[in-house]
Symmetry: C2
Subunit: 177 residues, 2 copies
């Protein structure tokens, strides 16, 4: 069955440095009209960096929208036209100082498709070598390592609250068996 | 280490029916100023409805921001002051026509804490009984059942693209063993 919604009108609301917001009026297949509030995002990458000892390299940072520090896998926004695998390699080194000898795309997903088009490309990074840390000027980041099994336990107990990190850790567990 | 960011200024940009957008100017602990574009969301619930035969009841619907139909676990936005477990039970019945005899909170997470405060409360619903389907007037929904293991395989192959659904399915797999 086709549930597609045709755009009748589209109003730009906000063009920020990162997001854009618009409101669409749509025609539903049942003939009804509805409005959709949509946040456009450039897309992002997230990386599960796995050491030879099965540890995951994590970053701790402050997230203003939720007013709390979170423990996350390394991630970052795509620059226009940037290749996701190259972006993942770059962001990993910038945030953790580690260079990935091997980077593997696991899958891609949408963080909240009900109101946003943000896509997240998920990678597994292995064969980690020392590189040079150089976070963005508006990012303050702490780096910590955890065993994969410990992270799974933290997720189930609600101690990790970032969706891409939960997806990354549980997917790595699934893929690595 | 405390990476907290103090709000210096906050500008409201948009008040929609579902989201609100604001731009904050913040003072970082290193003395720098930065702007943060923030999407406020009322929060939501998502439910993994598990049948006695270990099947998961899924919904298919069109998502305007990504212009595609997605296969998702049942979910819905919180009304102001609404209890998440009651919201989960209500949304499950509205979208699938199934009443949950048992509803268990697994954990809660943020879908994209870099730019939004949307929180997602995740539940596992069992002891499913026939109730009555009554989707919102601006939602068209199809209901399908899948084996839990089949859904895990679909996730790894990139055939399920919704973050809360990936989290819900992989978490159910982890919790159920």
């Amino acid at each position: 069955m086709d549930f597609s919604e045709k755009t009748i009108e589209s109003h730009g609301i906000f063009k920020g440095k990162i997001i854009r917001v618009r409101v669409d009026t749509v025609l539903m297949p049942n003939g009804r009209q509805a409005t959709r509030e949509i946040v456009e995002h450039p897309g992002a990458v997230a990386v599960v960096p796995l050491t030879a000892g099965q540890e995951v390299v994590m970053v701790r940072q402050f997230r203003k929208p939720i007013e709390q520090q979170t423990l996350e896998i390394p991630a970052g926004k795509l620059s226009p036209g940037e290749n996701p695998a190259e972006c993942a390699t770059r962001e990993l080194e910038e945030e953790t100082g580690l260079r990935a000898g091997n980077i593997r795309h696991l899958f891609s997903f949408y963080t909240s498709p009900g109101f946003s088009d943000e896509i997240m490309h998920l990678f597994l990074a292995t064969d980690l070598q020392p590189g040079s840390q150089s976070p963005d000027e508006d990012e303050l980041i702490g780096v910590e390592k955890f065993q994969l099994g410990q992270l799974v336990s933290m997720i189930v107990h609600g101690d990790i609250v970032d969706a891409k990190t939960i997806v990354g850790v549980l997917a790595a567990r699934e893929v690595l068996g």
